[in-house]
Homo-oligomer: 425 residues x 2
């Protein structure tokens, strides 16, 4: 079997290195020597992190995708333009394709997977979600007996690193983001990571595999972590929660919820203890109960681990041609975000006048929202009270109506902060 | 495909119930209606936890294993006598076999898997290790690109429940064991669980899959938790560790270590936060880094989830005929237990005389053992000092020689307690 690799950067170089380092184990598992025979790079003259002496290298990626000697193409370029054309070309040439490209799968996966099925080739993408964690295989195979009740994951390492530093060291968002950029965890433009777009790509993929429906990237509601303040983090800690940036997929009353947002989760949950750049996905099945999968969500060799696992599956024939592991996809309407029921955390800055808290809770009560717990911190120099409230489980639309009303009151000194709370049990 | 089920107790009944409850999901995933057509029970007249109206039920299990209409046999009886004969009979009749029987696989798996390979049928046992957690599939498929560096698991829920209660509520072993028995977590004879035999079965299986060698159940060194005292638990807490009953498989210098023993692990490790009856397995691969798999290790429906996942794999053809996922097993010599290098926790009860601690550390130093930390608790009514010591990483044989020498000293008032410490990083 001849392998063509498109891209020999971090991930591509990692794949070549892992194949070299673990040659004997992989041979013992597959009975085959896996050789990368063809490779495409942007610039042949640039230095690489891997040895490439045995690879036929070109700057024309299409020549690899069109090469009749190549059986499997690894698309490790990224992006949704050239990468898409290359994947289509390879599939049309009856080649299996393995990719780590979440944006490509999340936004064009329906089209690409349909084409792959028509051509009777595999299009695999374990590495696209949560790096080295075999979460897609676990959903498709290990949990195949279950109705999935919940998928909730820390699926962006950059965001988790930032939130962990904010919590453990009392640092603020901007400060940690700068460090994350210096460490290479975050891009120069960090929008994809901190505004939840990267997590939304991964969540859309997880949801389709968990519930057996087409990808609906446009239905993921997405909220970033750039508005999380040090005060939110310390209120959360005081209330026995940890703030994590979660991707949540849930089927409630036949409707699919897909949402990426900062979330207060109880400190006692295993997910709350997943720190730094690590990823983890909690999956609840109606038979198996809660399960969790933890590991590195990025990095050259961790991502390579997932790419090669897909390759081994193809070589050994241990993967089906079904889309997302389902013989037949079903249509699931998506849930109107206003109808999502959730517990909420509210943070308010209010003038310290008698009856303020009573007024706030009265407005909440008018909207059928009750207060589960409340912390009021000492008055600051501007004579304002800092208040945190945890509500009962309410419809998002009701919560929004109530906070809109509270916001208009003269005693409110700043925009009310609203964050989801999930107890995950 | 006709399925024959041997045993309709907790696990067998759970399998039937999950197949019924999740009929539409499983059909959507496989494209087939899965029907349990034949069943064998000890006594037809006994009540069952599942509906069995469509199952042809007999008290003669061999008639199912011999029935030419049956394609797959689910062995859910347990034990290593009749169960073994039934599995051999079914395989000899060219039927696939799925079992949840860890004792059977750990002690007779080499013979049974060889036979299955000869007959070109599958013998699958995901449910035998860590219940519903898809840990065997993850090792075989998801991590197939890796050299495995460490497997460390909480793989006995009963033991973990007991240790969690001891730590969180300050209760003693015997007291919690009685509750575990009353709750149905522990058997009337708890030896298999609390002395680590059950965990040893599971560890032997994990090690073979991780390292690609034959099962060597007789090479697992096994130590139970019945000697763990409340004082050990509170010393551990004070030293920032949690005591967990771990199964550890590790290849060091070409030798395989397989050991089940109580272990102090840092509180900050995710494994330290796996509490109650839950199971979790930490797997370190040289490419992927640390990964962890968490879920219910027992229970009717969680175990059924794994049994049915194997069945779905057979129906979809997404499983290889390789033994443990390896084309060719290798021989790995087992490590002499005395050569295992480990950090150790020592607890000593010593007469409170001047120079006692100096004498102890001098003997340790003579054996090239240094002290990383030490706690000496206030003197008790018998005028004895309670001392806990954490050593550096040393050869087990050296540690034993040192403690044997210390033990003979007149100031030592009780048997020295020795527990492994693993930092897992």
């Amino acid at each position: 079997m001849n392998i063509g690799i498109l891209g020999l950067g971090t991930v591509g170089g990692g794949v070549v290195n892992v194949l070299n380092n673990n040659k004997s184990e992989i041979f013992a598992r597959t009975g085959e020597q896996i050789n990368i025979t063809h490779g495409a790079v942007k610039s042949i003259s640039e230095p690489r992190i891997c040895e490439d002496g045995n690879i036929n290298i070109t700057e024309d990626a299409f020549s690899v995708a069109n090469n009749p000697d190549v059986d499997v193409v690894l698309e490790l370029i990224g992006g949704t333009t050239i990468a898409k054309d290359l994947v289509i070309t390879a599939i049309n040439n009856n080649k299996h394709v393995i990719t780590a490209n979440k944006a490509l799968i999340a936004t064009h996966g329906n089209e690409l997977l349909t084409l792959a099925k028509q051509k009777n080739v595999h299009l695999l993408f374990e590495a696209a979600v949560a790096g080295g964690i075999p979460i897609l295989k676990s959903l498709e195979q290990g949990l195949s007996a279950n109705k999935i009740e919940l998928v909730a994951g820390i699926i962006n390492g950059t965001g988790n690193f930032i939130l962990t530093e904010m919590r453990d060291k009392g640092r603020d968002f901007t400060d940690v983001l700068k460090e994350a950029q210096a460490l290479g965890y975050a891009e120069a433009d960090p929008t994809f990571d901190v505004e939840g777009i990267d997590a939304a790509h991964k969540l859309a993929i997880l949801a389709s595999i968990a519930y057996g429906c087409e990808l609906q990237m446009d239905k993921v509601s997405t909220e970033g972590i750039s508005d999380i303040s040090g005060e939110d983090v310390s209120f959360a800690t005081e209330l026995n929660y940890s703030i994590k940036h979660l991707g949540i997929a849930k089927k409630v009353n036949g409707e699919l919820q897909m949402r990426v947002h900062p979330t207060l989760i109880p400190k006692t949950q295993l997910l709350a203890n997943v720190d730094g750049v690590m990823n983890a996905v909690l999956v609840k099945g109606n038979a198996v109960g809660p399960t969790l999968y933890y590991g590195a969500g990025a990095g050259a060799e961790a991502t390579a681990s997932a790419v090669i696992a897909d390759l081994v599956d193809i070589i050994k024939g241990t993967v089906s041609h079904d889309v997302f592991g389902w013989k037949q996809l079903i249509e699931i309407p998506s849930c109107n975000p206003g109808n999502v029921e959730s517990v909420f955390y509210l943070r308010l800055l209010a003038a310290d006048k008698p009856g303020v808290l009573a007024d706030i809770t009265a407005i909440l009560a008018k909207h059928n929202i009750s207060v589960e717990s409340v912390i009021q911190k000492q008055i600051d120099q501007q004579n304002n009270a800092h208040i945190a409230i945890i509500t009962n489980s309410v419809k998002t639309a009701d919560l929004q109506a109530a906070t809109t009303e509270i916001q208009t009151h003269e005693f409110i000194q700043d925009t009310i902060k609203i964050i989801h709370v999930e107890n995950l049990d």
